[in-house]
């Protein structure tokens, strides 16, 4: 079981917490080293051969935009009570959970993982609510992630992940 990344977005579309377990530069450099012959024949959205590596905040924005559009697409097709759960590519799987307050939890894992929605729900209920919402010193909103990454939350997340998703 491999865990790649975990993101939390608030209802103002801002990323208030992110954590990666892989070095971001590695993925970017391997993409630049990709042979160009494959992308010359088709125009199916391949990146141009030379591209600067994406920064972490670019990644966050891209992921937010992606899950937001996927969620809208799913609701359009399946009706208002339909919810987007996850998607899988050949390389990774993205799990999604949205709270009634429109907070979004996103987790990227390897492809063999079953749906992690219950775990994301537990992270929200047992860690975020306990250590961030109930923290009297944390602000109500978290612009730029202020107040989220406190010690208790970090430690709780670490313990939770090693407990339920053993490497």
């Amino acid at each position: 079981m491999v865990l790649y990344a975990f993101y939390m977005f608030d209802r103002h579309t801002e990323c208030i917490y992110s954590r990666r377990w892989t070095p971001p530069s590695q993925a970017a450099s391997s993409k630049n080293a990709r042979p160009q012959s494959g992308s010359s024949t088709t125009s199916n959205g391949d990146a141009p051969p030379v591209r600067r590596p994406m920064s972490q905040s670019d990644d966050e924005k891209l992921i937010f935009g992606l899950v937001f559009s996927l969620r809208n697409m799913v609701q359009k097709l399946g009706g208002e009570d339909d919810t987007f759960l996850s998607y899988r590519t050949a390389e990774y799987k993205l799990h999604y959970y949205e709270t009634p307050t429109r907070m979004k939890f996103v987790m990227l894992t390897d492809t063999k993982q079953n749906n992690l929605r219950p775990y994301l729900h537990q992270i929200w209920a047992n860690l975020y609510v306990e250590y961030v919402v109930k923290n009297p010193l944390a602000p109500v909103e978290h612009p730029a992630g202020i107040g989220v990454a406190n010690e208790m939350f970090e430690r709780g997340l670490e313990a939770f992940i090693t407990a339920v998703l053993p490497p």
Binding site: S43, G45, L62, L77, D81, L85, T89, Y92, D110
Partner: protein, 155 residues
């Protein structure tokens, strides 16, 4: 076993075929379907870029190394399966960039083989049709009938 719909998206992101087999998805206008296909095309490209895993080196032991190197071997793929609580989308992208989207029930087995069979039907009845222009909407009666036969037999 329920198959809701089939979309075919051209390599430029246009919806070239849209067929509903079973009601279950919301009714949308044809304009909405075009928009959905276009945005899916974009999201597919983004998911390809987001790949967090370091690319795996080609297996030296497998006989793939003996053959000519494929330009497609270490290319990241975009969305393959999307799951929601009411349905599931299987996406199959051909090497030329055409995408087949199959909308099914969440617990549907063997969609992989099914979508490949549909690709075969597409190759037989659309690509081999001398009156079909590539990248244009598919209006081939034989393709429609073959799809009907294939999907109905399985449901």
């Amino acid at each position: 076993m329920v198959v809701f719909a089939l979309f075919v998206i051209s390599k430029a992101g246009g919806l070239i075929y849209n067929r509903e087999f079973h009601s279950g998805l919301s009714k949308l206008t044809s304009n909405d379907y075009l928009m959905l296909a276009g945005s899916f095309h974009g999201m597919h490209a983004i998911t390809k870029q987001l790949c967090p895993a370091p690319s795996l080196p080609a297996h030296p032991s497998s006989n793939a190394a003996v053959l000519a190197p494929s330009p497609f071997s270490n290319r990241a793929t975009g969305i393959e399966v999307l799951e929601s609580s009411h349905f599931r989308i299987q996406c199959f992208q051909t090497l030329t960039g055409t995408k087949f989207l199959l909308f099914t029930e969440p617990q549907q087995p063997n969609i992989d083989s099914m979508i490949r069979k549909i690709y075969e039907l597409y190759a037989d009845f659309v690509m081999k049709n001398p009156f079909y222009t590539v990248e244009m909407p598919i209006r081939c009666e034989k393709f429609d009938r073959a799809l009907d036969g294939f999907v109905k037999v399985r449901s």
